[in-house]
Symmetry: none
Subunit: 226 residues, 2 copies
DNA sequence: AATTTAATCAAAACCTTATTAAAATACTTT
DNA sequence: AAAGTATTTTAATAAGGTTTTGATTAAATT
């Protein structure tokens, strides 16, 4: 469902490209780059990024123009464009919004701000996901919105990882989740932890939710049964 | 509910003031004027306009600065500020949005455009009035209009940030707000403050509103519970 | 029976939040 | 403009919970 988020970074300054690429890659995004508007449009068509970071002042074709063109392409209509602009630029940057830009970041770009902005954009993108925010199975309610688990109306406190794991297993009760799947979904692809970690979390869940509900399928994985 | 809409027009050019005043009055709005930023802030405080048309380049205090100051006043927080700017102005107009501006019109101002914009703003004003303005949860009342919190009929004074944070959490009681969400909604995406800042504000709220009402969900965020 | 995989447990490592007090900012009042 | 007051942010440390590991034991599979 939510694959890796693709970001196209466009700037004519290689240093800035590098800074952005570094920070974004580290944060787990898939990054491609372009160094002018023309190239940006071309690469955007192929790469189909969810987000484009677009410098305004560039040779060949400026960011505003590129933005306008990109926004005209059906396949990129939903792409979110964030402008990069130097505070001092003598430029009607308001045009950026006219052109269909969604947000902007002023240079120098602070990594923290950048990443927060991206995160919030990504969340906006995936916001229809949190429709699936509540699972009800008989006497069990798992509400991700409130981070709450209720069994027969008794609240059960689950720490974060346990909750995520439970939520995952319960999201398709009966289905066997392999250890790999669990790893990827709960821990993400960027961390490495030993195998015992999953076992221990399953054990905690068994203690709190009920021994019989978490079935081990040896050699394969675990499943939640009602 | 919808009394006459008050508009404050700010420009250093008397001719422009007159044009705007004429058109707006004719359309049925109540208009006051100021000719520089300083005067604008002063008059805004008294007049409490719903809308301010604000020139950017002015003597004494420019429009950006005035906007910033106005937006900081609780009583004018909801005021919509529309900037007037010459398209040719050598100016970082993005600063206008940083300062909290809501829209802009380029000079020369065309009456039709102006009035259309005003009408759409007025519509916006009247549509989300009451919507996001007052929260009542049992014995707690949070009124954003008046920046007021009442518990069992006792007024509680919350400074700006604490109020915003409280308002956010209470707007969906039960829901866990992540730190990112809180940051974005209360502090905005263009400032960076450390993580402890949120903690400290939560602590203040716990002191003033009640310890048990703000639940920490470790690793996730905070929620307000009734 | 040998091998592989999972369960259990407690200790260690790790992280996140709470709490202060002090510093920095912003706002008022004179 | 200056002094005083309130608010917001930071920094450092304490407190507490969560997560992971590693050793050992148990169970299933071949």
């Amino acid at each position: 469902m939510s694959s890796i988020v693709k970001i196209l970074v466009v700037d004519d300054d290689p240093d800035i490209i590098e800074i952005l690429r570094y920070n974004l890659s580290l944060a787990g995004y898939q990054v491609k780059t372009a160094s002018n508007g023309k190239e940006a449009v071309k690469k955007a068509k192929l790469f189909l990024p969810e987000i484009i970071l677009l410098d305004i002042m560039m040779p060949e074709m400026d960011g505003i123009e590129a933005c306008t063109q990109i926004k005209l392409l059906p396949s990129l209509k939903k792409t979110i464009i964030i402008f990069l602009s130097a505070r001092s630029e003598d430029f009607t940057q308001i045009a950026a919004f006219d052109a269909g830009g969604d947000d902007y970041i002023t240079k120098p770009v602070k990594p923290k701000i950048l990443l927060r902005k991206i995160r919030s954009v990504v969340k906006r993108l995936h916001s229809d996901i949190d429709e699936n925010t509540k699972i009800e199975l008989g006497n069990i309610i798992i509400d991700r919105n409130e981070y709450l688990v209720k069994i027969d109306n008794n609240n059960i406190n689950l720490p974060r990882k346990e909750f995520e794991l439970f939520f995952l297993l319960a999201s398709r009760s009966g289905k066997v989740f392999t250890r790999d799947e669990i790893m990827n979904k709960v821990w993400g692809t960027n961390v490495i932890v030993g195998d015992r970690t999953i076992d221990v979390h399953i054990r905690k869940l068994r203690e709190k939710i009920g021994d019989l509900r978490f079935k081990t399928v040896k050699g394969v994985g675990y499943k939640f049964v009602q």
